[in-house]
C-alpha cells in the first residue's frame, strides 16, 4: 500500500498532495494518508468521495499523542477520476 504523510501541512496543500499521489495509482490500489490538521481530514474525505474514491478512516491511535491525528485509507475505484 502506498503511504503519504501530510502531518504539518495546512489546507489546501493536503488535498493537493494526496491528489498528486492518487494520480499515480491504478484502480484497486490503495493510499494510506496520515495527517494532523483537522479540517484536512474532512476536506480529504469530501474531495475523494466526490471524485469517486472510496474512503475509510479512523483516528490514528498507534504511537500518536495528537488527538487530532488521523489516518485515511483511500481506494482507487473503477469510477474514480481526478477531473
Amino acid at each position: 500500500m502506498e503511504r503519504v504523510d501530510v502531518t504539518g501541512e495546512v489546507c489546501p496543500r493536503p488535498a493537493l498532495i494526496v491528489r498528486r499521489h492518487l494520480s499515480e495509482l491504478e484502480p484497486g490500489e490503495e493510499l494510506l494518508v496520515r495527517g494532523d490538521y483537522p479540517p484536512a481530514e474532512e476536506n480529504l474525505r469530501r474531495t475523494c468521495t466526490k471524485h469517486g474514491f472510496e474512503v475509510t478512516g479512523k483516528q490514528a491511535g498507534n504511537g500518536s499523542t495528537d488527538a487530532s491525528a488521523f489516518e485515511l485509507k483511500i481506494t482507487v475505484t473503477d469510477d474514480a477520476g481526478l477531473r
Binding site: 489546507c11 489546501p12 491528489r19 474532512e42 476536506n43 474525505r45 474531495t47
Partner: protein, 343 residues
C-alpha cells in the same frame, strides 16, 4: 491586492497561521459544549439577547439599546493593510447583523509574533480606514505578542431597541436573502498555493486567473454589511451574518435559534471559486465552505420582499433570494441553483 501595499517585505502573514480567517472559529458543537460546561447556556434576563446570537444587546433607555460583540481571527490575506480592513469589516459585521449601526466604536485586539511587529501600523491603519467608512472609530485596544498573528476587535454600536434583529425571530413563510456571494475560502486558498509546486494544478482548475478571483473575494470581504443592515432592520424578521460555519452552518444556527426549518435553493458564488473548492474539498457546492466577513442572511416576510429588494437595489447592495423558512427543523440544500457572480 490593494493600492496600499505598505507593509514590510518578508514572511507572508498567512504562513504563520494553521487556520485562516473565519475558518479558525471553534465549531458549533464544541461551542455549545463549552457554554454548557461553563453554565452560560441559560436565560439571560438582564439582556435583550446575548449568548448564542451574533452580539449581545442591553437596553439602556426606552429608545436606546447598546450592542456589543468581539471578533478576531488569523490572517486570510498576506497584505497587512488588507488584513486590517477584513478584520474590522468582519468584527463590525456582527453588530450590523443585529441592525445596530449607530455610535460604532471598536477596541482593537491585535496579536503578532515578534518578527511581524513591523506589520502592526498597516494592520491598524486598515482597520481604522474601514471603520471610518462606516462612521466608526478606533477607540483604543490591546496588543500582545503571540506565536501567530490575529486581529479584530470588540465593537459597540447602538440602535433603537425595536430595530434590533436576531436569528431567533425568523418565521415560517419568510424568504431568505444573502447579501454577498460565497467562495472566500477557496479564493484565498488558491492564492496561498498559486505560486508554489501546485501552482499549475490550481491555475488549470479554473477558467479565471486566481488573482482576479482573489481580488474579487477581497472586495467582498471588505464590503461592510452596514447598508444591508439599515435596509434589513426596516423589513426583516431575523438576520445573522455568514462566517466560519458557512452558509449552511449559519442557516442551521438560525433554524435552531428560531425553532424553524430552512431550505436553501440558490448559491451565489464568486465566479471561479466552485472549481477551486472542488479541488480543495472545501464543500462550497454543499454550502459548507467557511466564509470570512460574509454577507447577511436575512429573513423577510413574503409581503415585504418587494420593498426590501427595491431598497437594497437603491442602496447599491448586492442581494440574492437564496431560500425560505419552513415550519420544519434544521437547514438543508434543496437542489440549489448555483449562480456564478462577478463583481
Amino acid at each position: 491586492m490593494s493600492d496600499h501595499r505598505s507593509g514590510p517585505a518578508g514572511p507572508r502573514l498567512t504562513e504563520y497561521a494553521e487556520l485562516h480567517g473565519c475558518s479558525c472559529k471553534v465549531g458549533q458543537g464544541n461551542l455549545d459544549e463549552l457554554l454548557s460546561r461553563a453554565g452560560l447556556d441559560g436565560d439571560q434576563n438582564d439582556l435583550l439577547f446575548g449568548v448564542g446570537e451574533d452580539a449581545g444587546a442591553r437596553q439602556l433607555r426606552q429608545d436606546l439599546a447598546l450592542v456589543q460583540t468581539v471578533d478576531f481571527f488569523t490572517p486570510i490575506v498576506d497584505d497587512p493593510y488588507d488584513f486590517g480592513r477584513v478584520a474590522a469589516c468582519n468584527a463590525a459585521s456582527d453588530a450590523f447583523a443585529t441592525g445596530a449601526t449607530d455610535d460604532l466604536s471598536c477596541l482593537v485586539v491585535l496579536g503578532l509574533p515578534r518578527e511581524l511587529r513591523d506589520h502592526a501600523p498597516a494592520i491598524l491603519r486598515g482597520m481604522a480606514d474601514l471603520l471610518d467608512g462606516v462612521g466608526g472609530v478606533v477607540a483604543g485596544g490591546h496588543t500582545t505578542l503571540n506565536p501567530w498573528p490575529f486581529a479584530g476587535g470588540a465593537v459597540t454600536a447602538t440602535a433603537h431597541p425595536e430595530h434590533l434583529l436576531t436569528a431567533r425571530t425568523a418565521r415560517p413563510g419568510d424568504r431568505l436573502y444573502l447579501t454577498k456571494p460565497l467562495g472566500t475560502q477557496p479564493a484565498m486558498g488558491a492564492l496561498r498555493v498559486g505560486d508554489g509546486e501546485f501552482g499549475e494544478t490550481v491555475r488549470e482548475a479554473t477558467d479565471r486567473p486566481i488573482e482576479d478571483i482573489g481580488e474579487e473575494a477581497l472586495a467582498w470581504m471588505t464590503t461592510p454589511n452596514r447598508d444591508a443592515a439599515v435596509v434589513a432592520r426596516e423589513h426583516a424578521t431575523a438576520a445573522t451574518d455568514v462566517t466560519g460555519f458557512g452558509l449552511l452552518g449559519e442557516a442551521t444556527v438560525l433554524a435552531g435559534n428560531a425553532g424553524v426549518g430552512v431550505e436553501i435553493d440558490r448559491l451565489p458564488i464568486v465566479d471561479g471559486t466552485l472549481a477551486l473548492s472542488r479541488l480543495f474539498g472545501y464543500g462550497l457546492a454543499d454550502g459548507e465552505s467557511a466564509e470570512t466577513s460574509g454577507g447577511l442572511l436575512v429573513a423577510v416576510p413574503g409581503d415585504g420582499t418587494a420593498d426590501f429588494e427595491g431598497e437594497l437595489s437603491g442602496a447599491g447592495v448586492f442581494y440574492r433570494a437564496v431560500g425560505r423558512v419552513t415550519d420544519g427543523s434544521g437547514a438543508a440544500l434543496v437542489e440549489p441553483k448555483i449562480e456564478r457572480v462577478r463583481k
